[in-house]
């Protein structure tokens, strides 16, 4: 698994880093720490921001037991160097671990940069933090988490501060759902030590035969992997209100592939609202 973690200088980025370190510790993922400074690419990179990235990298590596760390140690005197205008990186160094860890800083508009880097490295998951204020600030640059989630070719996890909830709400019931999405949910269930609620949509209180079959398959899939799934039947017209009761969930996972029924029902402005306003973390699966 290859994970790109997008970071700015806000508190939620530091929080996200700690949680993703646990995911990385579990999965031995290849990691890219991408710091984004919202300045023009031809301006000088502020020392304050490189210091923040140093701290992030140290904090991230400190989460691992050195004897079992998949990543090499952070080396002294390994400064960031500008490899292209507005792109700074640290060389991996000779003490490389079995898994890759790249650290880069880029200057410019965050969502475009995140999408470009994600495409370049071919990552499986983009993770970025977000606060729970009304407009979900992420550098000056508009609703960055939403724009990334909407346009990325891979899954995107928008992390909020932890809630006490230990349940994952999964909106997955379309027949075209990808194997990678099912596997990503399994990893999240392990990471959040959470039970799984799978939504089945009803219309006029009737469940389509194809949906029923798919739900049965999903239930068997997770049960055989020793994850306890709960099926929640929700009337189509009540879906938004149901999801809005998000205090119940630590994570809302929604499959948003091209064929997704949820993409049709839960159109873009509602997804944007969900990412912005939800107190739960949101995982958009592709």
């Amino acid at each position: 698994m290859r994970i790109l973690i997008a970071l700015d200088q806000n508190e939620y980025s530091a929080h996200t880093l700690g949680r993703v370190a646990r995911l990385a510790e579990n999965t031995w993922a290849d990691i890219t720490l991408l710091g984004i400074f919202p300045g023009k690419s031809d301006s000088a990179l502020p020392n304050e921001f490189t210091a923040t990235m140093d701290r992030y990298q140290k904090d991230f590596l400190n989460c691992f037991d050195a004897a079992f760390s998949p990543y090499g140690p952070m080396e002294e005197n390994n400064a960031f160097r500008e490899v292209q205008p507005g792109i700074h990186e640290r060389s991996p160094g000779p003490g490389k671990g079995p898994k890759d860890m790249a650290v880069r800083i880029r200057m410019g508009e965050p969502s475009g940069i995140i999408l470009e880097e994600a495409g370049k490295i071919g990552c499986d998951l983009i993770v970025l933090g977000c606060d729970t204020r009304d407009d979900c600030t992420w550098c000056p640059g508009g609703n960055v988490p939403y724009r990334v989630a909407a346009e990325a070719g891979c899954s995107v996890l928008v992390m909020k501060k932890d809630t006490d909830a230990r349940r994952i709400l999964s909106c997955l019931d379309h027949e075209e759902i990808s194997q990678a999405s099912l596997e990503m949910i399994s990893q999240m269930s392990t990471l959040f030590t959470a039970d799984l609620d799978i939504v089945g949509l009803t219309k006029k209180n009737e469940l389509k035969q194809s949906v029923q079959t798919k739900l049965g398959m999903l239930q068997s899939y997770y049960l055989s992997r020793r994850i306890q799934p709960w099926i929640e039947l929700v009337e189509l017209s009540d879906l938004e209100a149901f999801i809005a009761g998000e205090n119940r969930w630590s994570l809302i996972a929604m499959w948003m592939g091209k064929q997704s029924v949820f993409r049709r029902i839960f159109f873009d402005s509602k997804v944007e609202k969900l990412i912005s306003n939800s107190r739960s973390s949101v995982l958009l699966l592709k």
Partner: protein, 127 residues
């Protein structure tokens, strides 16, 4: 050099995807979905590389790892899992796994790891 590789995953789709891709690279592949049958084969034959899922019915990937390392210590074992935890990663590596890969993964990731294992096998033969 063509390698002999065993793939063991109780999800048919995983073995099928890997088999098609790695055979294109010139390797000889045997894919299994039933751990007990894979164990029988491992007792009868040594592979260069074994790729095994960790969580399966009846037998765990850790038992597969132990069997391989007992019988053929030079074989490189790559563990794959959909339910990664720190404990499982540590146990795998302590018991001699070559690498640990969490699902979902891209075929390219497995191919890269197979190449690394191949390099390690070559170094082993020289040394």
């Amino acid at each position: 050099m063509s390698l002999e590789i065993m793939i063991l995953d109780d999800e048919t789709i995983v073995g099928e995807r890997l088999k098609a891709s790695l055979e294109k690279d010139g390797h000889r592949l045997e894919a299994f979905t039933e751990p007990l049958r894979a164990m029988e084969r491992l007792r009868a034959h040594d592979f260069d590389i074994v790729v095994t899922d960790i969580r399966m019915d009846n037998v765990s990937g850790i038992e597969i790892l132990e069997l391989v390392k007992r019988k053929s210590p030079g074989t490189k074992v790559i563990m794959i899992t959909g339910y990664a935890t720190l404990e499982v990663a540590r146990e795998s590596l302590t018991k001699g796994a070559f690498d640990f890969i969490a699902k979902p993964f891209k075929i390219g990731e497995i191919r890269k790891t197979i190449e690394k294992a191949h390099d390690a096998l070559k170094a082993q033969q020289k040394g």
